[in-house]
Assembly symmetry: C2
Homo-oligomer: 223 residues x 2
Amino acid sequence: MWQLHQFPLCPFSRKVRIVMGEKNLAYELVRENPWDKRDELWQLNHAGRIPVLHDTTRGTTIADSRAICEFLEEMVDRAPMLSGNSATRAEIRRLVALFDENFFQDVTAPLLEEKLAKRLMLRQPPDSRALREAMKSAHGHLDYIDWLVDTRAWLGGSMLSLADMAAAAQISVADYLGGIDWAGHEQARTWYAVVKSRPSFRPLLTEKIEGIPPPAHYAMVDG
Amino acid sequence: MWQLHQFPLCPFSRKVRIVMGEKNLAYELVRENPWDKRDELWQLNHAGRIPVLHDTTRGTTIADSRAICEFLEEMVDRAPMLSGNSATRAEIRRLVALFDENFFQDVTAPLLEEKLAKRLMLRQPPDSRALREAMKSAHGHLDYIDWLVDTRAWLGGSMLSLADMAAAAQISVADYLGGIDWAGHEQARTWYAVVKSRPSFRPLLTEKIEGIPPPAHYAMVDG
Ligand SMILES: N[C@@H](CCC(=O)N[C@@H](CS)C(=O)NCC(=O)O)C(=O)O
Ligand SMILES: N[C@@H](CCC(=O)N[C@@H](CS)C(=O)NCC(=O)O)C(=O)O
C-alpha cells in the first residue's frame, strides 16, 4: 500500500498527486504540517521534507518529488509524462527545475510564508511589500508560460509532461493564496484552465486549509 | 562541440564536470561569473543559472545540473552513474536532491556568500556567525555520510553513482572555502579521499579563484 506524506498546499506534494492521478495509482494521504517537524517524518526522510512516498508493504521509501516522479515514470507505463528522445526529456526536466526552484523561490515560497506560516504560526499579518514582489515575479513567470504556449502544444513540447504538472502545481498553490493575476496572460490562462480541468487535478481543488479560504475563482474549472 | 558554461566554485558545475570526466567526454569550458548576469547566459538559460551545456554544432541547450546528468546517462553508456533497479535509482536521486538542495543551502551557499561574494563584490569581511552556522551544519551532513559509508560501499548503494558525485562536488567547494573540518568523520574522510583521487576530479583541484586561495590540504589527494 502506497502512502503519500504530504501537505495540501505543498506544491511538490501536489505535483506528485497529479502524476499519481494521471497514472491511476491508488494511495493513501498522510497529512504532514511542515512546521510540525514530526519525528516520524524525519525517520522516513533524512531531509525532513515532504513529499515522501512510502510503500508500507515492502518498506520502500522515496523522498523528493523529482525522484518520486522519475520512479513512477519508470514503474508505470500508463500516462507517460517524460516521453520523447533524450533532448526532449532534458527540456522537460529543465522546465521542472525552473518551476520547482525558481517559481517556488520567487512566488510560491514567499506567498506560503506571508499568507500561511505567518498567519497560522506567528499570528502576524503578511508583509505587503513581500506580497507585491511575489506577484510581480509571478507576472514574469506567466509571461514565460505565455511564450511557451505560443510556440508549443504543451509546456515541454508536443506532449503533456511533467513540465505541465510542475508548473500547474506551483500555480495552483499561488492561486489558492491569491497571488495569481491572469490579466494580460491569455495563453497561460487557457493552458492552465485545460490542465486544471483534468480529473487528476480535481481532488486538489476541493481541499481547504482551515482559516485560509481560497478566492472564489480558485476551484472553478473555467475560472 | 559541447561547451559547458560554468563557474569553478559552482558545485552544480563541478558535479557535471566530474560526470563528463568519468564518461570521458570532451568539452570546452566557458567561464560565467554568476554575479555578472551576462545577457548571453540568460539567452541560453531562462533561469539565468549555471551550469548550461550547449552543443554548438546542433544548437541543443540543456540547463540544470540534474537535467544535464540524466541526459548524459541516457546518451552515454560508459561509466553508468544511475544503475540498478528503480528503487535503487530513486535512492540515488533522493541523495542527489539532499546534497544539491540541503547541503547547498545549509553549507555551500552561505560559504560562497560569506567568503566569495562578500569579498569579491562587496569588499566586506565575512560574518563569523554565519560561517560558524555553516560549519556546524557541515558536521551534521558529514555525520550522515559517515553513516551511509558504514552501511554501503558507496553513498547510493553498491555502485559509484551520481550520489557520490553530488556530495563530493558540494564538499569540494566547501573545502576550498575552509568550511570542512574532518575531525570525527573518519568514514566520510576516507570515502572523500577515494572520490577525490579519481582522474575525473583532478582538473577541479588545480583551479584557483583569484584572491581566494584554498587551504593547503585542499588539492592533496591524501589530505
Ligand atoms: N526538492 C524537494 C522540495 C520539497 C520541499 O521543499 N517541501 C517543503 C514543503 S512545500 C518542506 O517540506 N519544507 C520543510 C523543510 O524544508 O524543512 C521536492 O521536490 O520534494
Ligand atoms: N538547480 C540548479 C541550480 C544551479 C545554481 O543555483 N547555480 C548557481 C551558481 S552555483 C547560479 O547560477 N546562481 C545564479 C542565480 O541563481 O541567479 C542546478 O542544479 O543546476
